[in-house]
Amino acid sequence: MMSVKEINTVQKPIVLIDKSLDFFNGKVLFPEKLSKANEMLKNIGLPKINESSEIENAHK
């Protein structure tokens, strides 16, 4: 049985909770992507989050 869960109001979506999708919990559906991610992150690490004080302009 589904119930409606309102995650947020405006920009954030409404998500229907479907417990049948819990079947996938703990299963890796995209193992190659995950492996690639772990490998790349091992090599280059993570970005220094919030390091720049000019984030608002840096994406341009």
Binding site: K12, P13, L21, L29, F30, E32, A37, N38
Partner: protein
């Protein structure tokens, strides 16, 4: 340019998720029919860092395929729906960072194009980084990247 109000109204598919908000499902509808899409946020070897996986589910075999190109004429709506999963996931996982890349260079390009298209609208909510040869830099619209990393702003 698309304005903030427009992205809020941007059409997207109805989302379903398990209770942990780590696996999402929606149905793409177009000329090729109804295609079930799955988005999964999977923990990586790094704390609070999740990999975004996205692909089609074969409803007959249950098989998941992240290499197929659907061409169902709704890429904009699909992209908006995937962005919506980010918001939903991060609502539950406030400190999470999301790593995303395509399975090949050509499949990474749509990620870049999608981010470039909507970055002005999501920049208030997310920090977005692009992977370069030996590290990361804040995402720039006109540059190719190997992968992307998204973090919700506090």
């Amino acid at each position: 340019m698309i304005g903030k109000l427009e992205i809020i109204k941007l059409e997207r598919y109805e989302l379903k998720s398990g209770e942990k908000l780590e696996v999402f499902e929606f149905v793409s509808v177009g000329p090729k029919g109804r295609i079930v899409k799955l988005v999964q946020f999977t923990p990586t070897n790094y704390k609070d860092l999740y990999n975004l996986g996205f692909g089609d589910k074969n409803i007959e075999t249950g098989e998941i395929n992240d290499t197929v190109i659907s061409n169902n004429g709704d890429s904009r709506k699909v992209l908006a729906t995937v962005v919506a999963t980010l918001y939903a996931f991060m609502e539950r996982h406030k400190d999470a960072m999301i790593y995303a890349t395509g399975s090949t260079k050509s499949r990474t390009r749509p990620y870049r194009m999608g981010i470039a298209k909507y970055i002005d609208e999501v920049i208030d909510d997310f920090e977005i980084y692009g992977e370069i040869l030996d590290g990361w830099e804040l995402f720039k619209k006109d540059k190719e990247y190997e992968a992307f990393l998204v973090k919700q702003k506090n």
